[in-house]
Symmetry: C2
Subunit: 319 residues, 2 copies
């Protein structure tokens, strides 16, 4: 029986992680924590026994008590205010709910001498604006964070290294690229497009427009189900103190993604720029290299972009 | 009349900054803020008119009100829990009182559309462990922070860049190397040695021992009076978004400094290693290049190491 503490439990990555454990018949005892209640129930789970506590990771003492009681073997740290655009509007909140929460978690584990392994989830946003000739981005590529969110993620990574080297803790880090998949909130771009495209199909408005930000940006999209398998493997086999890109290795512009989804949905879609969705600064192109994670833990991608997009559209269709 | 907001007002750098303004007959209106009251009074100042408010920079609303009322032209951000060893013992507090306070300050200035220029003071600790062949460290040298304090300082710098590029704010950054001078608290290494050496001279104990940490480490020490002149010039002429090393360009080991002080004080000194003063990780050698600050703002160092050490010993002699 593996014991997992999962922060950010009520988010969609966590749900897919539980599903991964369950599908693979991994017997696990999971304590989930989050600011808000999970929207999923226990009935789908047999191998995975989970409980939930609503707690704010900014509540240092609360977190310490909880970790002391549970004594996790693995900590999957998913909690994050992970929206870049939110971070431009609310830098303080974004920062607190990325870096201060993480530091509280690290401190609790350190003070209690918990020997568990932590997976610190970071972001491709850490790379910032990069030249095309630096692509695909490798883990040793320079970091140049250009949003408050990205700065918080780089800080999280630097703190992780300090806790590994200075305190001997066991932490594996990721730079996770844009993940997509069924269940993701529509504050994230692909979910937003999918929800709007499904809306066009159902409501049949006069103009087939969807609201977008800058759709020329190119991103490396990866299905959340491939992501959680990587997280599982990293918690089992990832090397202490190492950073791993979690990505597909391919880039698509948002306009290409819109076209693919329009085709799958069988509707004509006209992107309409909404200036409010433009960010003060944005990375033009992000494509990662996944060589290291493939080499070190034997991970590989299994779900194609088309399959992801189909499942996302189906998810919104069912809402 | 120049209007300055100075955070960390009650610290020794701030006092030297006021003295610099006064000595140079610069008419200034200064609002100082700090967690604790200043230990100096107003009587020594004529050109400089200053007032003080006791406030915690973590008090976001309080800071906003205060900046709204004062409308500073220049913000000298000195506030920091700047001890590396404190940061190992209290990472959470160290982090909050470096980065969260800074973010609150930035946010207040941004929200209120204050056009003032901010000097964000960083640290040579940001460079971390470096190879000898990378010396002297230039501003473009890679950063490799190895303590919680150093991580916070790198974060502060990254946030500054985000606020310059993303929000159009006016921020000049420093990486200030170890500053020393009369008035510095004895939680800092040179002050601690000086206080102990003065103690040997006065108390004449049986063993001429002083307690030290690792005295083989080499640092680039610079007199606080040279530092504050650089800060003044950077606020006047520093380039927006740029980072400047503030350093002497020379390195001395702590044992060399002890020898120099012993010689000045005319006592025999035996360093005694106190294991509690050993840090989990420490940079072996830090020496900076001050070419950029010399070139861009015409700054130069005026006070020799010997003069600094004499003044520091005299300061402790008078305590």
């Amino acid at each position: 029986m593996q014991k997992y503490l999962i922060t950010g439990f009520s988010g969609f990555v966590s749900k897919h992680f539980l599903d991964f454990l369950e599908r693979n018949e991994i017997n696990a005892s999971v304590l989930g924590i989050d600011l808000c209640l999970p929207s999923f129930g226990r009935k789908d789970y047999g191998h995975v026994k989970w409980s939930f506590q609503k707690i704010d990771l900014l509540d240092k003492d609360g977190i310490e008590n909880l970790i002391y009681e549970f004594q996790p073997e693995y900590i999957l740290h998913l909690a994050s205010f992970s929206s870049v655009s939110f971070s431009w509007k609310n830098p303080v909140l974004s920062y607190q709910h990325n870096i201060n929460i993480f530091l509280n978690l690290l401190e609790a584990v350190r003070k209690l001498n918990i020997e568990g392994k932590i997976l610190s989830v970071g972001s491709s946003e850490e790379y910032g604006n990069v030249d095309k000739d630096q692509l695909p981005l490798k883990e040793e590529s320079p970091l140049n964070p250009i949003s408050p969110y990205a700065v918080a993620r780089v800080s999280q990574e630097m703190l992780s290294k300090v806790y590994v080297d200075g305190f001997g803790m066991d932490i594996v880090m990721t730079r996770s690229f844009n993940h997509i998949g069924p269940g993701q909130k529509d504050i994230f771009v692909i979910s937003s497009f999918a929800r709007q495209i499904v809306g066009l199909k159902k409501d049949k408005p006069r103009k087939n427009e969807i609201r977008t930000g800058d759709i020329s940006v190119i991103r490396d999209f990866i299905d959340v189900r491939d992501v959680v398998r990587a997280y599982y493997l990293l918690l089992q086999k990832g090397k202490n103190g190492e950073i791993y890109n979690i990505c597909s290795g391919r880039g698509f512009s948002l306009s290409e993604i819109i076209n693919k989804m329009a085709q799958i949905a069988g509707v004509n879609v006209i992107p309409r720029l909404d200036k409010r969705l433009i960010r003060p600064k944005d990375n033009k192109i992000i494509i990662g290299s996944n060589e290291k994670v493939k080499r070190d833990i034997g991970w590989d991608m299994k779900i194609s972009l088309e399959k992801s997009l189909e499942d996302i559209l189906e998810y919104w269709d069912n809402q």
